[in-house]
């Protein structure tokens, strides 16, 4: 799209252009929507009718109440939404012909399973699989990476308003698949009481700067229950592949370089950024995001239907408090009372791991030694406890400081112009509705920070 055309269509100059594609301005659109249970005083004083109209376009340079939350981060990476939708008849008849007419890049049809998988044009980070059945309703899985949707890569930590835009882009792409576009709320969990969608898996992230590699080295010695710890030179994974809670701590730039998303020079520039990621699904997801407003009952099961940035950050902190041997803990609370051979050995092994600066990881070393020396389970557990106590005492940073509010707000981001410059969105590309902002907003009042600049992905 050329610049002059986009200027004309930009809502700032032409607000009527909003969602022209799916909601012509002549139609009076009313959409059913249930507001989230009020969780802040602000919400109590702002009653929302159960039927709301399509939202007016965002005025980037104007101060609005919604901009109050725009400074907060929505620290999400990959997510999975499950839902049941009534598909467009044209799509059900011929997915391939439908793909040709719409913004679909590739359609894969698995005839045996009757599953149609779609990838969308100009929209990385969105993949949809629909199981076509005999009935009207079709089970649908939406794999959605908000950051990739609007920036073309997942190295950014999105603000809340950017997350809303990403959701808007995804819904805009998926709307043609629906029999009735007014039922868009089946695509986004929590957007209506009638919505059948829920969050099935979520990755919560935080970036920190790790200049000397000490933080990564500390995580290499981490231990959480009996979870498998896998160690790479540039990362650590705690928890197995099928585990409902998995911790991934890795140098993001290295990972992107391996996937050829970064050049060598870009990788060297960004190599200090360490990503702390927790991957949640199933019961662990519900446990981590359990909150009055976030849980909904879908088909008789408790499911996550909405979240706020504060809830995600709280879940991230709670999860990262689980592994031991990384952060400083109160010595009085953790020190073993016994002082036998196991305790001495634990201390000594911890000392070796600290001195090796990540070259030897504690869990691997202990397993290896126990294999030779026929250490009993009780002895092994005492050695482990003693070593982890020593490791926690050694670190001079507490998890409370590590995951402090300031650290969260000032976290480094990966700005990759070579990728981001290729993504440009017009207001037509983004589906807007108050229900999106209402259900995925900050629960705390924050200091007003005006959204003075237009995001790089918007056509200016």
């Amino acid at each position: 799209m050329n610049k002059s055309k986009s200027k004309h269509k930009h809502p700032f100059t032409n607000p009527q252009a909003l969602n022209k594609k799916h909601f012509p301005e002549s139609e009076a659109i009313t959409l059913p929507c249930q507001p989230e249970p009020p969780s802040s005083p602000e919400q109590h004083s702002d009653p929302v009718s159960p039927h709301i109209t399509a939202k007016t376009p965002r005025l980037w340079t104007t101060q609005t109440a919604n901009d109050q939350i725009s400074s907060r981060h929505m620290p999400l990476d990959k997510t999975v939404i499950r839902t049941v939708i009534e598909v467009n008849q044209d799509f059900a008849k011929s997915p391939q012909a439908f793909g040709e007419q719409n913004e679909i890049w590739q359609v894969h049809v698995n005839t045996k399973e009757n599953i149609v998988t779609m990838y969308f044009r100009n929209c990385r980070g969105l993949k949809t699989s629909i199981r076509l059945g005999n009935g009207k309703l079709c089970q649908t899985e939406i794999r959605f990476t908000p950051s990739s949707c609007i920036y073309g890569h997942n190295g950014r930590v999105l603000t809340v308003s950017e997350f809303h835009d990403a959701v808007g882009v995804a819904i805009n792409r998926l709307l043609p698949l629906l029999r009735d576009p007014h039922e868009w709320y089946h695509l986004l969990p929590g957007s209506s009481s009638e919505s059948r969608a829920y969050w099935d898996a979520i990755e919560i992230i935080q970036h920190i700067e790790d200049h000397d590699g000490n933080i990564l080295a500390s995580f290499k010695n981490a231990s959480w229950r009996n979870a498998i710890t896998r160690v790479w030179p540039t990362g650590v994974k705690i928890g197995g592949r099928n585990s409902e809670r998995q911790f991934c701590i890795y140098e993001k730039a290295q990972e992107m370089y391996a996937k050829r998303n970064l050049t060598e020079s870009e990788c060297n520039e960004l190599r200090n950024i360490l990503r702390l990621e927790v991957r949640l699904k199933g019961k662990a997801l519900i446990e981590a995001l359990d909150d009055q407003s976030s849980i909904g009952i879908i088909d008789g099961n408790r499911r996550i239907v909405r979240f706020s940035p504060e809830l995600l950050i709280r879940a991230h902190r709670a999860c990262f408090n689980l592994p031991r041997g990384v952060f400083f803990e109160n010595p009085l609370g953790t020190q073993s009372l016994k002082c036998g051979m196991a305790e001495h050995m634990g201390l000594y092994l911890a000392q070796i791991c600290i001195q090796s600066n990540g070259a030897s990881n504690f869990v691997g070393l202990l397993n290896s030694l126990c294999h030779y020396a026929k250490v009993t389970a009780n002895m092994k557990s005492r050695i482990k406890r003693s070593a982890l106590d020593c490791l926690t005492r050694h670190h001079n940073i507490a998890s409370a400081e590590f995951f402090a509010k300031l650290a969260c707000q000032k976290q480094p981001q990966m700005l990759i112009p070579s990728i981001e410059d290729k993504v440009r969105r017009s207001e037509d590309d983004i589906f807007r509705n108050d229900a999106i902002e209402l259900n995925y907003r900050s629960t705390q009042e924050t200091k007003f920070i005006p959204h003075a600049t237009i995001p790089s992905y918007m056509i200016q």
Partner: protein
């Protein structure tokens, strides 16, 4: 010390087993037109041993030239699920078998767990050939199912993936330390049960895995424990290794690969392995005494710190009495003397692969007449 003598003392069984996990052939064979029109009828009428048939269509839309590319990929499993798998691509140009995957263990044995001593690659490929031939449009094309030198370059098939595995009985994964390979990036998934080394382009994968219950194909179906070392070679990396190994005769050898060649490939890759193997001394097995001394002795072998330094540092924490200290130092020295280590590469000698065994048939496919297979597998 003599390398083989050392190995024998460390590995009481000293009988490595090998098996081909998977063989992938890149082909370009036209499929029978009736199959193209109606696969299920063709399968039924020709009584083909098809156990699974599925298809996936892929449509990609090129807006710049307003065209749609349609590609249908069919997957067919013959004989058993996973024994022979064919990938058939249908496009505007027609219907072609593009990839053939063969699992010899499933094709000739009953279970994936069997360590069947494959002595002849030709034996396996002939069985595969027998089942694939009826699907082809032209019966003369059956010559091109397996990689061999043919005058027609369009039809010529070639090996695309070789997935080969060796089991070393008695050698346990926790006894292998600091594993690395010059062709791979770093250790992946070092869990204690499994270690994976992967090259940057993922064309070489070396996977070490603990095997507790490897089933022998003997009458008793006895179980043995050890470490499985699986090497997966693909694409350019496969070509490069064959080039390095066979030099001038590369093309000829690549087309006419034998089991002996595959064993040599595995050997040449494992020969470059870095790391050390420290077996558990016989005296330590079932003996839970002198834990600290044993741990310090092991630590001196697997870390960069010397034994003396370990002793000094540990005693600084423990602060024992003079007599205890003296006794402890003595115990550590004894434990250390009981340990021995060898480079991991030394575990993989040509002899240990059984390359010179008499029962290993060094067959050449090009010379084999394409006779119908009438062996014991006819009833499969």
């Amino acid at each position: 010390m003599n390398k083989n003598a050392n190995l024998k003392s460390m590995n009481p069984h000293n009988a490595p087993l090998h098996r081909i996990r998977e063989l992938w052939i890149k082909a370009n064979l036209k499929v029978h037109p009736i199959f193209q029109e109606n696969p299920s009828d063709f399968i039924r009428n020709n009584r083909l041993k098809v156990v699974h048939h599925s298809s996936q269509s892929r449509y990609s839309y090129d807006q710049s030239i307003s065209s749609t590319n349609e590609e249908i990929t069919q997957s067919i499993h013959l004989v058993k699920h996973g024994a022979i798998q064919l990938f058939i691509h249908t496009s505007e140009n027609g219907c072609f078998i593009k990839q053939i995957k063969i699992n010899p263990s499933l094709l000739t044995g009953n279970s994936k767990r069997f360590w069947l001593p494959v002595t002849s690659l030709r034996h396996i490929v002939e069985i595969a050939e027998k089942y694939i031939s009826p699907l082809l449009a032209d019966s003369r094309d059956s010559e091109a199912i397996l990689p061999r030198e043919l005058p027609d370059k369009i039809l010529q098939s070639e090996w695309s993936v070789i997935d080969f595995e060796v089991l070393i009985p008695g050698v346990l994964l926790p006894h292998l330390h600091h594993l690395s390979h010059p062709a791979t990036v770093a250790i992946q998934g070092a869990t204690g049960k499994r270690v994976e080394l992967v090259s940057e382009n993922k064309e070489l994968i070396i996977r070490f895995k603990n095997e507790q219950n490897a089933m022998m194909p003997d009458k008793d179906q006895s179980l043995i424990a050890g470490t499985r070392i699986r090497v997966i070679l693909k694409g350019n990396m496969l070509h490069r290794h064959i080039d390095e190994l066979f030099g001038d005769s590369k093309n000829h050898r690549f087309q006419n690969l034998t089991l002996r060649d595959i064993l040599r490939l595995h050997h040449s890759i494992m020969n470059g392995m870095k790391g050390i193997y420290i077996p558990c001394p016989a005296k330590w097995i079932n003996c839970a005494d002198q834990l600290e001394a044993k741990i310090l002795a092991i630590l001196s072998h697997i870390t960069d710190v010397t034994l003396e330094q370990h002793l000094t540092d540990y005693l600084a924490i423990k602060t024992p009495s003079r007599s205890t200290r003296k006794r402890f130092v003595k115990e550590v020295k004894i434990s250390n003397s009981q340990l021995s280590s060898i480079p991991v590469a030394n575990l993989f000698t040509l002899e240990s692969y059984g390359i010179h065994k008499a029962d290993l048939i060094d067959e050449v496919i090009e010379n084999s007449p394409l006779t119908p297979f009438t062996g014991q597998h006819d009833n499969l």
